[in-house]
Subunit: 412 residues, 2 copies
C-alpha cells in the first residue's frame, strides 16, 4: 500500500515553516508498514491544490493532506479537493450546530468566518474535531482514500491518532515495523557510533540509526516482520547488547523523556525536589513539571537570574559570590541547599553557568556547574557544554536531570 | 520565474528528518523574488528521482534538488538526473584529482567509494565543493536550469550562498518579494480574518495571509515589486490600516517575539520584573530570559508548584488559599506582590491556573489568573485558555506577557 502526503500552505513554499506535519505522518505510517513514496507541498492556490490531489491519486492508494481547512480566506483545501474530485461543496448543518455549541461552551459566539468549515465535498465523509474547529475530510474514490486534516500540528495529530491511523493500520494488514528507542546521555554521538559500529554493519533487520540532539543521543532499532511479536523478538537481543555496551549512559529504553524517568524514580522513593536555576531561566522547572501529577514530587524552582537574587532568595553567601563567583560549584551547592530549604523539599537541584555568547567572570561560554543537595549527601560537578545559547541551556537541563537520575538510582 | 525544490532521501519519506533544506532554500528564493510553487520529496530510488526531475522541469524554470550526491550506495541523484535528461554519466578526472588532493591534505587517502562523486551527467557543469566532497551539478535544458546540491545542510548552504543564489538573483532580475509580519495576541484567528476580510479580498499585491499558533496570530503582508523600496511602499499603507484595525492586539510589526517587545519596553523605562509562576512551571521566566542581556530587566522567577510553596516562598496568606483557592485573582495578586518583594523588582508578574486535563478546586481546566503588581498599581484578570496542557501554558505565558506589555505602554 503506497501513501502520499500533501502539505497545503503558502507558508511552506515561502520557507516560513518546515513541513513538520509530513515528517510526523511519515513516521507514523512507517510504524504501521505503509510505504510513503512522495511528499508534495503547494501553496494556497485552488488550481495547484487540485492538481496536487490529482497527481497523488494517480500514483498512491492513500493520500493525506494537511492544511487549508481553517476559517480564513486563504483556507481553500475544501475547494481544491472538490475540484480534483469534480464535485461541489455542500454545507452541512450538523457541523454548524457542532461548532456553534463548541463556541457556546467557551462563552463565546461563533464568528461567521467559521461557516466555511461546514462545507464538505459532496460524497465525502467528515470527522468532527475535538481540538480546534476544522473537521477532517475522508473521501473514497476508485479503491483509493483521501484524508484531509487541519494543518495545526496538535489538531492534525489528534485526528490522525484518534481515527485515521487506526483505520489505515487495519487497511495495511499485518506488515509491521517496530522501533525501539534507547536514549543515552553524557556521551557523544561519534563515540556511540564507534561502540556500536560492528552491530551497525552486521544488521539490516533490525537496523540501527542514530539521532543526536543537545545532550542526548537516540539509538533507534527498527525491525520489520509480519507480526508485532516477531518484530519485537528480532529487536530484543540487539537491544540487550546495545544497552550492555552503553551501560549507565542509557537513561531509558522506552519512549520517555529524562524528566519522566526522574519523576518515576522520585515517586518510587516518595521524595520531593526543588530547583535553583540561573542560566536555564526556568526551563529545568518546566521539564520537571511537564508530566501530569508532577506536583507529587516537584515543589518548585527559584529562578535567580542575578547575583543579588541568588543572595536574597536562595541565601547564597556574599563571600561565596565574591570569592568563587556565581559560576562555581560552591555557588551551585549553596543554591541547591537554598532551594531545598525555602521549598522544604527532600532534594535541591541547582544549575549555574554561562549561557553565552559572551564569557562571564572570566569563565567561557558553556561553563556549567550542577549541584545536588539532600539530607546527609551533597554533590556537584562542572562541565563545558558545546554550542550556542539554546544548546548550552539544553545540555544543562539534561545534565542536571541526569545527575538526579544517577543519585536516585544509586539509592534504589 | 518559477522554481521547484526537490528533496532526495529516503530518510525524509520515513519521517526521520524534516525537509529543512527546502525551507531554507524557499526563504532565500523569496528574498530574491523567485516564486516557489512546488516542493517534492522522493526516496533513494532512481526511477522516482528521474520522475521527480521530469515533473519539475515540466512546470518550473528553475529546479533545485538537495541530497543523493554522497559516496554511499544509496546516493543516486546523479543516475536519476541523467535518466531524466536522457544522457549518460561521464567520469571527470579533474574532480577525482580534486577529491584525492582534499583527502591528502587531511592526511588520509580517498576511499574508493568517493569515485562515484566524480561522475557527472553528460553536458552538465559542476561546482567543486569547499565543504564536503559532493560536487554540485548545474544543467541547462530548453531555457530551464537544474541545480543539484548535497543534502548535508552546511554543504548545501555553502554552495547555494557562494554560487547558485547569486546566479539566480541575476537571472531573476530586479523583482523582489518583501514580507512584513504583524503579530497579534488576545484575539482569535477567525475574528482577525473577519476584521480584515475586505482588505484580504481587495488586495492581490500586497497579499494577506494568516498563521495561527497558541495565543497568537501572525498576519503576513507580502508585496512583489522591482525594488525593495517599491515593495515596502506598497506594504506601508496596508500595514497601517491593518494595525489601526487590530489596535492594541498588535504587539509588534517587526519579527520580534512578545518577550522581546516587553524586554525593550522594560529597558526603556529602566524597570525590572520578577515572576511568580505555578502552572507554567518556569516557562514564563524562560521566555523573559531568552534575549541576551535579559539580566538588565529580568530578576528571576519563583516557580511555586504547590500551595505550600506559594505560602512559604511567596508569602501568600493561608487565609487567601483557604477562602479563594490558589486559582484566584486574589492569590495571583499576592503572588505578584511576593515576587516583587523577594526579588526586589519594580514589577511582579504572576500566573496561577489549571493546566488540566483534570479540574482543580472546582475550577475547570484552562482557568487562568494573571496579576501584575507595581508601586502604586496593581491589576489582575482571569480567562479560559483553550486546548490541552501545553496550549493552556502557552496561552498563559502570552497573556501574562501581554498584560505586562499593555501596562508598560500605558505608561509611555
Amino acid at each position: 500500500m503506497r501513501a502520499e502526503i500533501l502539505g497545503v500552505g503558502t507558508e511552506i513554499l515561502l520557507g516560513q515553516i518546515c513541513n513538520n506535519n509530513a515528517q510526523w505522518i511519515s513516521e507514523r505510517l512507517a510504524e504501521i508498514g505503509v510505504d510513503v513514496l512522495h511528499h508534495q507541498a503547494v501553496g494556497d492556490n485552488e488550481e495547484r491544490i487540485a492538481g496536487a490531489f490529482r497527481l497523488a491519486l494517480s500514483r498512491a492508494e492513500i493520500v493525506l493532506s494537511t492544511g487549508g481547512l481553517g476559517p480564513t480566506q486563504d483556507d481553500i483545501t475544501r475547494e481544491g479537493l472538490a475540484r480534483a474530485l469534480e464535485v461541489r461543496l455542500v454545507r452541512r448543518p450538523e457541523i454548524e450546530s457542532f461548532l456553534r455549541e463548541k463556541y457556546r461552551r467557551l462563552g463565546r459566539s461563533m464568528p461567521e468566518a467559521n461557516l466555511q468549515q461546514c462545507d464538505v465535498p459532496e460524497g465525502t465523509r467528515y470527522l468532527l474535531p475535538d481540538r480546534g474547529t476544522a473537521p477532517g475530510l475522508i473521501c473514497e474514490r476508485d479503491g483509493k482514500s483521501v484524508y484531509a486534516v487541519a494543518g495545526v500540528p496538535a489538531e492534525m495529530r489528534e485526528m490522525m491518532t484518534g481515527t485515521i491511523l487506526p483505520e489505515l493500520a487495519e487497511l495495511a494488514g499485518p506488515t509491521t515495523l517496530v522501533s525501539r528507542l534507547l536514549r543515552v546521555t553524557g556521551i557523544a554521538e561519534a563515540r556511540v557510533s564507534e561502540i556500536l559500529d560492528d552491530l551497525f554493519r552486521a544488521s539490516a533487520n533490525p537496523s540501527i540509526a542514530y539521532l543526536a540532539s543537545s545532550g542526548e543521543v537516540k539509538v533507534r532499532l527498527t525491525a520489520k516482520a509480519t507480526t508485532r511479536g516477531e518484530a519485537e523478538a528480532l529487536i530484543r537481543p540487539l537491544a540487550e547488547e546495545v544497552a550492555e555496551r552503553l551501560g549507565a549512559h542509557v537513561f531509558t529504553t522506552g519512549d520517555e523523556e529524562l524528566e519522566q524517568v526522574v519523576g518515576r524514580d522520585l515517586k518510587a522513593h516518595g521524595w520531593t525536589v526543588a530547583c535553583a536555576e540561573s542560566l536555564t531561566g526556568g526551563s529545568l522547572g518546566v521539564r520537571l513539571s511537564l508530566a501530569p501529577g508532577a506536583s507529587v514530587y516537584f515543589k518548585g524552582s527559584a529562578v535567580c537570574y542575578t547575583p543579588e537574587s541568588k543572595r536574597k532568595v536562595l541565601g547564597v553567601a556574599r563571600e561565596t559570590i565574591e570569592r568563587a563567583g556565581v559560576v562555581s560549584e560552591e555557588c551551585a551547592r549553596e543554591m541547591a541547599r537554598g532551594a531545598r530549604e525555602i521549598f522544604g523539599a527532600d532534594i535541591g537541584l541547582a544549575l549555574t553557568g554561562v549561557a553565552g555568547p559572551e564569557p562571564h567572570d572570566g569563565k567561557p561560554a558553556g561553563t556549567v556547574c550542577v549541584a545536588l543537595s539532600a539530607k546527609g549527601a551533597e554533590e556537584s560537578s562542572s562541565f563545558r557544554a558545546p554550542g550556542d545559547r539554546d544548546q548550552v541551556r539544553r545540555w544543562s537541563e539534561q545534565s542536571a536531570l541526569d545527575t538526579l537520575r544517577r543519585f536516585l538510582s544509586r539509592r534504589s
